[in-house]
């Protein structure tokens, strides 16, 4: 157990170290406000990364999630604008759609033996295109239920807000941990990532598992879409472009191997928080031009990954 978890420990250690460095430079970084923000602002990313973790551990990848989030927002906004459906019902409808969408991609991957990268890339175009077709304009959501959800937070000492959205993300991570580490489905996911042919010979229902994996990711993307729509109280077809790459980066920083079969859900949470930390640090610094922002994000990403590799090598070699 402990050997497999080494990347996870390395990730946690690096995160804490990074936080310490930030704190020394900007003491305000340790306020409950920043911590609350870290959870809330990255809620949608964290939720989508939970699905992505499962997909990546199964040896696949899901590029469609960013578009699905955008689609979800537009869908909910348009439904709430055009009908007087209760938001909860719209959520249920949406989750059914995104889950089915994920399942359909999983089905194509399995039945047609097509690489996930390509199928989900097509899915990414399709979901974004569908969002455009619903509305090219951003659609505000005015709904008492939405306001209620936005105002649902616990004011921590220091005026930090522990929001409902942040809690949904934490809950998603916990559910992800249970699904991945404590169910047969979860073990099958690891098995699939270890080698599809072998998993099949060992009696894993490869097709069913593949479909379920992408359906799970679709569900999480839909949930992230809901959270995002609450976060911005609008649906916007151009939203969350490139979020799939952020999610992949978060999963990788969290110590999950892109080759599949290895990784921890908790690591993904740390990865998401690390990405959020980088973002916050750059804003606190406030002196970077647009281009240096990009370069610094890339450099920090690289640093995290190299540090992780270095730590692992140190620990493994003696």
């Amino acid at each position: 157990m402990s050997i497999r978890a080494l990347p996870l420990y390395a990730t946690i250690a690096i995160f804490l170290l990074a936080y310490l460095i930030c704190y020394i430079q900007f003491p305000a970084m340790l306020s409950t406000r920043v911590i609350g923000n870290l959870l809330t602002d990255n809620a949608y990313l964290g939720i989508v990364a939970v699905g992505m973790t499962v997909v990546i551990i199964s040896g696949g990848i899901d590029l469609s999630v960013g578009s699905v989030i955008a689609f979800s927002g537009v869908f909910i906004a348009v439904v709430l604008r055009e009908t007087d459906m209760h938001p909860m019902l719209a959520f249920a409808l949406l989750l059914a759609i995104t889950t089915a969408f994920g399942a359909a991609m999983g089905g194509m991957i399995h039945l047609l033996a097509m690489p996930p990268f390509i199928v989900t890339l097509a899915g990414m175009f399709l979901a974004r295109g569908a969002a455009y077709m619903l509305s090219i304009d951003s659609v505000p959501i005015v709904d008492p239920f939405y306001e209620m959800m936005q105002r649902a937070y616990y004011l921590m000492p220091g005026r930090g807000r522990l929001t409902l959205l942040g809690m949904i993300m934490v809950a998603a991570v916990v559910i992800g941990m249970i699904v991945l580490h404590r169910t047969r489905f979860g073990t099958n996911v690891y098995a699939l990532g270890g080698g599809e042919a072998t998993a099949r010979l060992m009696g894993v229902a490869v097709g069913r598992t593949t479909v379920a994996v992408y359906a799970f990711s679709g569900f999480m993307a839909g949930l992230a879409g809901i959270v995002f729509s609450v976060y911005t109280s609008a649906g916007y077809p151009l939203a969350t472009v490139g979020v799939e790459l952020s999610a992949i980066a978060a999963v990788v920083i969290g110590g999950t191997l892109l080759t599949g079969g290895n990784g921890y859900m908790f690591g993904t949470l740390i990865g998401v928080l690390t990405m959020g930390l980088i973002q916050t640090y750059i804003v606190f610094d406030g002196s970077l031009s647009s281009w240096w922002t990009k370069i610094v994000i890339g450099a920090l990403l690289l640093m995290f990954i190299l540090l992780q590799k270095g730590l692992l090598r140190l620990r493994v070699s003696p």
Binding site: M114, G129, L257
Partner: protein
């Protein structure tokens, strides 16, 4: 030769089908005329506009053959375009600009290659880093503006013609032939396929897989540099933010439509180039058809999905059986084997 033809047959058929589809909406598709010393017509537009994706697809094919992927090519295009424009702007002249751009591409490729081959970072992540940071570097060079220049020699690479054919088309065709000869007339192709299929076994067989991997990423960087030069020359300016934006996805799509496996191994540059032309025909077709812009993505997605489904490894054999030409019955194979 018939082997090559059989390899690219699905791509040729697809291309024909897409062209047929476009010409339903746009019957003048086939019209090519010669005016003002240049060929004008939609097919000419396709081969010209397809140049960046075609060039990227050449490098991407090799990277994918090694079981890697290069997400940074779009950003590398921006970097190389920016450095070329900068060099022209500084008055270093055309050849220096080309040299600097090419070198920038090679350096970017070297960086990716080192991360992948020496530090052992997985290709998606390694190239994602440059994808994120690369645009920043490009903007650093241009200072965030669209760096424009006026240099006829350099613009010729983007919008000139050679014997009536647009120069970008000439460049990608020549690059394709060059890379094709390089990998097939030497043992490079075999060695690349080998490390893509089984890196460990290849290393044990004495293949210098580390150097080869780095070389492949540098090749991809070089192709991206050419694409960046064309894009910059085309608009007479380096747009660090938008040059090559999301083109890496089109390039990967082209490679896959070309029937190359993302799991590495066997590859065909010709098929990838056909894939790039298929994608460009779709793109151009969408522009010509005159649908509202918001439909563009859905149309493209649906067409791509249909193509991929028809070409998928599970369906292709079935389709081959449906075609009456050569029913491969077990008996027949048996006798063939005997002779």
């Amino acid at each position: 030769m018939s082997g090559v033809l059989r390899r690219v047959a699905p791509q040729l058929l697809t291309l024909a089908a897409v062209i047929a589809l476009v010409s339903i909406y746009f019957p003048m598709f086939y019209e090519v005329v010669y005016v003002n010393d240049r060929l004008v017509g939609i097919p000419i537009d396709v081969v010209k506009r397809g140049a960046p994706v075609a060039l990227l697809a050449i490098g991407m094919t090799l990277v994918i053959a090694t079981r890697g992927i290069d997400l940074s090519v779009g950003a590398v295009m921006a970097i190389c375009g920016a450095s070329a424009a900068w060099a022209i702007d500084q008055g270093f002249g055309m050849w220096a600009a080309l040299g600097i751009a090419g070198a920038s591409g090679l350096i970017c490729g070297l960086w990716n290659g080192l991360l992948v081959a020496v530090f052992g970072i997985q290709p998606i992540v390694a190239t994602l880093i440059l994808m994120v940071a690369g645009r920043g570097v490009a903007q650093l060079i241009t200072g965030g503006t669209i760096l424009t220049f006026d240099h006829d020699g350099f613009s010729y690479l983007g919008s000139g013609t050679l014997l009536g054919v647009p120069v970008p088309a000439v460049i990608w065709v020549l690059t394709g032939i060059g890379f094709g000869l390089l990998v097939r007339r030497t043992a490079l192709g075999l060695l690349v396929e080998s490390i893509g299929i089984n890196l460990r076994a290849s290393t044990l067989t004495g293949i210098n897989s580390r150097v080869l991997l780095i070389a492949v990423y540098m090749g991809s960087g070089f192709c991206a540099a050419l694409a960046g030069i064309i894009a910059t020359a085309d608009i007479r300016g380096a747009d660090a933010n938008n040059a090559g934006l999301w083109l890496e996805l089109d390039a990967i799509l082209a490679v896959v439509i070309g029937g190359n496996s993302l799991l590495g191994g066997r590859f065909s540059i010709l098929a990838s180039l056909l894939g790039a032309m298929i994608i460009q025909t779709i793109n151009t077709g969408i522009l010509l058809a005159g649908f509202p812009s918001e439909f563009n993505l859905v149309i493209k997605a649906v067409l791509v999905i249909i193509i991929l489904v028809l070409q998928s490894p599970r369906l292709l054999p079935q389709l081959a059986v449906l075609m009456p030409r050569r029913q491969s019955s077990p008996q027949k194979t048996k006798t063939e084997e005997g002779t």
